[in-house]
């Protein structure tokens, strides 16, 4: 069983997907000319992120922000502010729903260049979107100095990615839809419709009960997939802050994806890539 720093019971990572308008324009499911839907994406940058950053400051924790690099060119001040407040900026591709195309290396190079020029960061993690994770993509990540990903729900993490049936120093923090806020707070009122919605209190109750179970078992990691345009409403940010306080009081190690992945690799005797 994985042992966490200072005898903590469970590692918890809050990882935000900064998809914004790309959620509505690039999915091929909806119409990019739908101004009202697009404005919902804007809500994430304009309203959600400032609130979330304030709440994270109050709770004194660092989070991870997976940024499609295109959005860093649209909202450079917002992304720089996330970085300035001490949070991790990680790779989420260029255009979110774009596939990696014929040459994923080109997508990685372009995304890394944009994030480097904006914030001077070199991401250590990549969260894939629609495309399936392949061994060649894992190999590419290793070659480019990445040491974690977060995309699957087939195990409770942490788990090492296997390439050629051999574990490699690439940590999968796991990210089931259970930890995705859109399972609870994403409603579209026009086709293709999605009608599920829960109150902030119900959403946090579901996650709190899961946390209690994970903390009891020990050695687990919870990695959230949360979207500023949905969870960024005042009541949901407040409720998330309360959940974080609850977790802190019950033995959670709350850290960035990067910090959790580094700990896992070191615990398993792998050397970390130099940065």
């Amino acid at each position: 069983m994985m042992e966490w720093p200072d005898g903590k019971r469970v590692a918890v990572s809050f990882a935000f997907d900064v998809d914004l308008e790309l959620n509505w324009s690039e999915s091929n499911r909806l119409d990019p000319g739908h101004l009202v839907h697009m404005s919902k994406g804007t809500y994430g940058a304009k309203q959600g992120i400032p609130r979330i950053l304030n709440m994270l400051d109050v709770q004194g924790i660092q989070a991870t922000f997976f940024v499609p690099a295109y959005n860093a060119t649209v909202y450079p001040e917002v992304i720089r502010e996330i970085h300035r407040r001490g949070h991790e900026i990680a790779n989420h591709g260029l255009h979110h729903f774009d596939s990696m195309g014929d040459d994923p290396k080109l997508v990685f190079e372009e995304a890394e260049r944009i994030l480097w020029e904006l914030c001077g960061v070199k991401p250590t993690g990549f969260r894939p979107t629609e495309e399936e994770f392949t061994e060649s993509l894992g190999q590419l990540m290793l070659e480019r100095g990445y040491y974690y990903t977060s995309y699957r729900g087939n195990w409770d993490g942490p788990h090492l990615v296997e390439i050629g049936e051999k574990s490699v120093p690439l940590v999968d923090l796991m990210a089931d839809a259970f930890y995705d806020d859109t399972a609870y707070d994403y409603y579209i009122d026009s086709p293709p419709a999605r009608y599920g919605i829960k109150s902030a209190a119900q959403q946090m109750e579901i996650w709190r009960e899961e946390f209690d179970g994970m903390a009891e078992e020990g050695g687990r990691v919870m990695d959230f997939i949360i979207h500023p345009q949905f969870i960024g409403r005042a009541c949901r940010v407040n409720a998330l802050g309360e959940l974080i306080a609850y977790m802190k009081s019950r033995g959670a190690w709350i850290a960035t994806n990067d910090a959790v992945a580094r700990w896992v690799l070191q615990s398993k005797g792998f050397a970390l890539p130099a940065h």
Binding site: V36, R80, I197
Partner: protein, 290 residues
């Protein structure tokens, strides 16, 4: 106003009259049967379930008006002109009670790929019906089905609108960016979570069927969570959306009344969209609060 997107500021810092905590607008999309018709038309289907919509014009609207009167508050009624013409007693009662009537299409039209000229002609026809009833053109615009024509903002300016209540990009009122010489246009954003449609619309004819049943308590609790969150921030608005055919049932309207009483007690400024838009305009210089 784009300059406000800096990752730091959560709002414009505007102060509401008399130290109120949040500006709340009770808006009624009074569509009667036109919502049912247009919702199915979007899916290429023939009209169905019209009686569920007519309930709003026959029964629901009167309960809404009575409840507003009980709590001494004014609402804003985004009403397709067809509804004003086909429910003349209700239309007159809304106006006579001092509520605002604003633009919401003629028949709650779902299309947005018509020409600028056709869109403008549609607005003209709907506005003239409102003018015959109230003596003036509407100050506010809400597109049917939350579906804006690509030229909508330009047309609103051209046609003398004061505000738009369409977008979902933040929880505060702001001015749309304007070219030199353009008239100001206030945005009063809203959201699906503030819309009774999300909780109460029941339709078997639409695909996929919209058949979620929320209890009144769950619905009001969602609104209260939102209200408490934005009221604590101080510079926000809350544009609640109701449909008389949905909220206008006796059990529901009673619970909404209770909630309005709660908001009043908690320091909400409850007024019409036009009143908030005028206040925001008077207290905003160059897109930022004075």
């Amino acid at each position: 106003m784009y300059s406000l997107i800096d990752g730091i500021r959560t709002g414009p810092g505007i102060q509401w009259p008399d130290g109120r905590r949040v500006a709340v607008m009770l808006t009624f999309d009074f569509e009667a049967e036109t919502l049912r018709i247009s919702n199915l038309a979007r899916q290429g289907k023939e009209p169905d379930e019209q009686d569920q919509g007519r309930y709003g014009g026959n029964e629901g609207i009167w309960r809404c008006l009575k409840m507003l009167d009980t709590y001494g508050v004014k609402g804003t009624f985004f009403t397709p002109s067809y509804v004003l013409e086909h429910y003349p007693e209700a239309a007159a009662a809304i106006h006579k009670a001092g509520h605002e009537i604003a633009y919401h299409g003629i028949l709650h039209e779902p299309e947005r790929y018509n020409s600028r000229e056709d869109e403008s002609a549609k607005m003209e026809q709907a506005e003239s019906v409102i003018e015959r009833l109230t003596g003036r053109r509407p100050a506010g615009h809400r597109a049917p089905h939350s579906t804006l024509h690509p030229e909508a903002f330009s047309l609103m300016r051209e046609r003398g609108y004061l505000y738009s209540s369409n977008l979902r990009d933040c929880d505060y009122a702001y001015l749309h960016e304007a070219e030199a010489g353009e008239s100001p246009l206030v945005e009063l954003p809203t959201d699906v979570v503030l819309d009774d449609f999300t909780y109460y619309y029941y339709s078997c004819a639409i695909e996929p069927g919209h058949r979620i049943a929320f209890t009144n308590r769950e619905y009001i609790n969602m609104l209260r969570e939102e209200f408490d969150g934005v009221a604590a921030e101080g510079d926000k608005i809350m544009v609640l959306k109701f449909h008389p055919a949905l909220i206008g049932r006796p059990g529901r309207i009673k619970r909404l009344g209770d909630f309005i009483g709660y908001m009043q007690q908690q320091g909400a400024w409850i007024t019409t969209c036009e009143a908030v838009a005028r206040y925001v305009l008077a207290h905003t210089e160059g897109g930022h609060p004075q």
